[in-house]
């Protein structure tokens, strides 16, 4: 029998095939839009397949002082809201995880509400609450201020930063609370028994331990701040405060010449892309070693909460104020407005005029219903694709010894650095020039945009789970004679299912609230609910916008709660919103 030949393929081929397929797919999703964006920035017409090459767009853009003003505004906005969200998030995480704050469990649940509120709705609600003339807070305070003066102006940089901070705080909280929770109390106690005061303790013991998580949170918040469109679009655009995203939307949809100016848009985008890639790189470095610092000794310890004593009242006030500003007040004003026949301030006189007409209209309106249908279909498709793709990517990156797995990891992470607006613009190029795939203006182009955008989140979550899954479970399946497909179907997928479902729900909920890509990619019949809502709002129909928004929030609350429950069950830590 010694002459029997060895059946089985040469391992070189077997090794490369899955990697090549996955790299091809990711390159198509991630690299093609990026490359086309770059190419179009050096084309005279701004369309990637048109003839000629030019550096004029760069010369023009980078010699224009307005560009630097816009860049400055973007950075101030991003840094300001990152600092705001960090301040709120750190304090809340510490209060909830390490102190004897009353109703800590309730706070953990309540934090889901601001997460379920789409940023665009938060911004709209805050316009109703604090616009200079008709804002509710300004109105009730006007007797104090005197005629013609107002306390708050939400249409300002401070307003934008304020609302963005409120909207990003839950993310910060979710990233930081595991770090606070897992911090070994012995460290704190050792510091205090050696005579260190509370500030020394924070500086010498807590900060170093929390540092990697803080760094990761800061990186992520800066990225979000640089990318986000909803809030600066709602609060800044009307008064001419432009950040990158709103500038792009403005140049595409409302260009002064009537035609979208893709050349300058791309030239501008390149600058931000470089900065975002740098932050992404830093973020990856910070998170790679994060687990090394967080003390997860496995030995159980009981946390002795820090006694707040006379600080209890201020702490409770702080937490209550956050929830008041981030959810209660905005949702209340949205409810009020949605019940009004026309835009009207809050007053007793208006109560008899309350009507359900706006809500009825939403359900009766065929355009609204088709938007809802689009949103559901897009969300379902994108989420399913992202969930499956994430499991495969994580399996390849974490589990297999496939060559090129680091590149796969990088490609799946890169979209975190690409603003939704840029993906919107890039996909416009791709599918306007690639005539062969006629999906421009359909829901499919939005599905592709969302898969690209959310693959980074999906893979981070499935990476975590895959790391917790012992490789021997898979090896045992192979040793039992099962091939790759059966091993995936019977072992890997069932064991990662809670995480997969969590990813799915997270992606659905984000697809439901995403505005910027959908706005740029909207065509005849692919309007989503946020685009519809944005249309009502910018078209001067705040009552309809509020009604639609409330139903959207309700759907979001259900999804986000389901996501949290499943995440907790799947033991995921540090997931981001």
């Amino acid at each position: 029998m010694q002459t029997a030949t060895l059946q089985g393929r040469s391992f070189a081929f077997e090794k490369w095939l899955p990697s090549l397929l996955m790299l091809g797919l990711l390159a198509y999703l991630v690299l093609v839009p990026l490359v086309i964006l770059l190419v179009s920035s050096v084309k005279p017409t701004g369309m990637p397949l048109d003839p000629g090459w030019t550096l004029d767009h760069f010369a023009e853009t980078y010699s224009d002082p307005a560009f630097y003003r816009m860049a400055g505004t973007t950075f101030i906005f991003a840094i300001g809201s990152a600092m705001g969200a960090l301040t709120i998030g750190i304090l809340m995480a510490w209060l909830v995880e390490r102190t004897d704050l009353p109703a800590r469990g309730f706070v953990r649940v309540m934090i889901l509400l601001p997460m379920a509120t789409p940023p665009v709705l938060l911004a709209i609600a805050w316009v109703m609450l604090a616009s200079p003339r008709t804002g509710f807070f300004n109105e009730i305070l006007s007797p104090l201020m005197g005629e013609g003066r107002h306390l708050f102006d939400i249409f300002s940089m401070q307003g934008m930063i304020f609302v963005e901070s409120l909207s990003l705080a839950p993310t910060t909280f979710l990233i930081l609370s595991p770090a606070f929770r897992n911090m070994d109390p012995n460290l704190e106690e050792a510091a205090r028994t050696s005579g260190a005061g509370i500030f020394t303790m924070i500086r010498r013991v807590m900060l170093p331990v929390l540092f990697p998580s803080l760094l990761a949170a800061t990186g992520l918040l800066l990225m979000f701040g640089l990318l986000v469109f909803d809030i600066p679009g709602t609060l800044g655009m009307p008064v001419g405060i432009f950040v990158l995203s709103s500038q792009i939307v403005y140049l595409v949809n409302d260009a002064p010449g009537g035609l979208a100016e893709y050349g300058p848009i791309s030239a501008m985008a390149v600058f931000f892309l470089v900065i975002l890639l740098m932050i992404t790189w830093g973020y990856r470095r910070a998170t790679r070693n994060a687990s090394r610092y967080v003390t997860m000794t496995g030995k159980s310890f009981r946390i002795r909460p820090y006694k707040l004593r006379r600080w209890k009242a201020p702490a409770v006030t702080f937490v209550s104020l956050y929830f008041f500003f981030a959810t209660i007040a905005p949702i209340a004003i949205l409810i009020w407005t949605s019940l009004m026949p026309y835009q009207a301030g809050v007053s007793l006189d208006m109560i008899p005029k309350m009507t359900m007409a706006n809500h009825m209209a939403f359900f009766a309106n065929s355009r609204a219903m088709s938007a809802a249908q689009n949103s559901v279909i897009i969300g379902g498709l994108a989420a399913t694709i992202v969930a499956l793709l994430s499991v495969l990517v994580s399996w390849l990156v974490i589990r297999s010894k496939a060559p090129g797995r680091n590149l796969i990891d990088l490609l799946s992470f890169l979209p975190l650095a690409i603003p939704g607006t840029m993906i919107g613009v890039a996909l416009t190029y791709v599918y306007l020039t690639l005539g062969s795939l006629p999906i421009y203006g359909t829901i499919w182009i939005i599905v592709i945009a969302y898969v690209t955008t959310y693959i980074a989140f999906g893979t981070r979550t499935t990476h975590n789970v895959m790391l917790q899954l012992s490789p021997e479970l898979e090896e045992a399946s192979r040793a039992s004679g099962a091939g790759w497909f059966r091993t995936m179907r019977r072992v890997v997928v069932p064991l990662t299912l809670p995480a997969i479902v969590a990813v799915w729900i997270w992606v659905v909920s984000h697809c439901l609230r995403e505005l910027s890509s959908a706005l740029l990619l909207q065509g005849f019949d692919n309007k989503t609910v946020p685009v519809l809502l944005w249309g009502y709002w910018t078209g001067g129909e705040p009552n309809k916008a509020s009604a639609v928004g409330l139903w959207l929030i309700l759907a979001m609350i259900i999804l986000v709660s389901a996501w949290q429950i499943l995440s907790a069950r799947g033991r995921l830590v540090g997931v981001k919103a």
């Binding site: 077997e14 021997e472 090896e475 399946s477």
Partner: protein, 362 residues
């Protein structure tokens, strides 16, 4: 049955290359219980994983029952699932999403066996490992010992030619380990599969195996039956790793009858094991439990006189530390029937039949 030739596994990390398996050749016979024994990190698991196809070696050939499954020169490797092996993992690797019966029946499910027939065989196998009553419980609710049995049943049910076991008893407590050891041996005898067993526990290796390969630093140092490795090891490392051995440097003198006389720091010793080494012998040893206390008046050979320095009582045995008249420390392990106390003057005999010659550097 299982043939390994010149197996070589190298791990290349950022800083260094590390030979985990360094040119190993083994030949395991049909139905044999073959153990890989060695200290932590010597490459046992790596070797086993190469046989299973979970690791790709850089060099060598492996064949199972005459069928090549790996050949580095042609670069061909048969994937794990196609190899005629089954494996018990150190962590058991019980799938928490399946019941006990589903776990055990999985290899049959893979073969495409019908549900009813599968259940019949699963029930029979579970009975063999004494888990019949647990069949439909979720696998996660079992105790360590029960999980171990599930893992074993799952491996046995596949009826593969070669059964691979990676320290299957190391996660159990001492009592349970003893019990499982006996069960494992019985099971293997009944099923009759060729088994490759990995352990770093010499007691386990000695009591279970037909043959043992002693490994060290990625190499196979010595292969032999438990009996031979214990009583007449050929290698200094084996002598010290299996059982206790105090090696004494020696100078060979002359052949005397069926023994060989060597000179040590405490006098001349006659050794009757490994006398074929003859003039090459560098060390001699007698295991503490083979050393005897004798009557001081005895004029047999290999007798030393000395004084007990300290004792350690462990129930079954007493370990004595003895200092001979020429200041050589020896340890002796004797039955606790006859207790001696520190300070006692004693005479020791190193029986020539148990005095083993070795050649090499310690």
């Amino acid at each position: 049955m299982l043939d390994i030739e010149n197996l070589r596994v190298e791990y290349i990390s950022a800083s260094a290359r590390h030979l985990a398996v360094d040119d190993i050749s083994l030949s395991v016979k049909d139905g044999e219980f073959f153990t890989l024994l060695g200290p932590s990190g010597c490459g046992k698991t790596t070797t086993l994983r190469c046989i299973a196809g979970l690791e790709t070696p850089q060099g060598g050939r492996i064949s199972i029952d005459g069928n090549p499954v790996f050949d580095a020169t042609s670069g061909k490797a048969m994937p794990t699932q196609k190899r005629d092996i089954s494996m018990v993992f150190q962590s058991y690797a019980i799938w928490p999403n399946m019941s006990v019966a589903e776990n055990v029946g999985f290899p049959l499910e893979v073969k495409g066996m019908r549900r009813a027939e599968r259940r019949r065989i699963v029930d029979r196998t579970l009975e063999m490992v004494g888990l019949t009553s647990q069949a439909d419980r979720p696998a996660t609710m079992l105790s360590g010992g029960q999980q171990q049995r599930v893992a074993l049943a799952r491996a046995v049910i596949k009826e593969a030619k070669v059964l691979l076991l990676d320290e299957p008893l190391s996660n159990l407590d001492a009592k349970l380990r003893e019990q499982m050891r006996a069960e494992l041996r019985d099971l293997q005898r009944n099923v009759g599969t060729t088994s490759i067993y990995v352990t770093h526990d010499q007691d386990e290796a000695l009591s279970l195996s037909d043959r043992i390969a002693v490994m060290h630093g990625g190499k196979v140092i010595e292969v032999g039956t438990p009996h031979d490795l214990y009583l007449k090891p050929r290698n200094l490392f084996t002598a010290q790793f299996i059982g206790e051995a105090q090696l004494f440097p020696c100078r060979p003198l002359e052949r005397v009858g069926d023994g060989f006389l060597v000179e040590t720091s405490f006098g001349k010793i006659l050794a009757k094991v490994n006398t074929d080494l003859g003039g090459e012998a560098t060390h001699v040893f007698v295991r503490p439990e083979h050393t005897e206390f004798v009557d001081p008046s005895s004029n047999a050979c290999n007798v030393l006189s000395g004084r007990i320095v300290s004792t350690v009582f462990s129930g079954k045995h007493v370990e004595y530390d003895v200092e001979t008249t020429c200041n050589q420390r020896l340890s002796v392990s004797a039955s606790s029937a006859n207790l001696r106390t520190p300070g006692d003057e004693v005479s020791l005999r190193l029986p020539p039949d148990n005095a083993v010659l070795l050649a090499g550097t310690a």
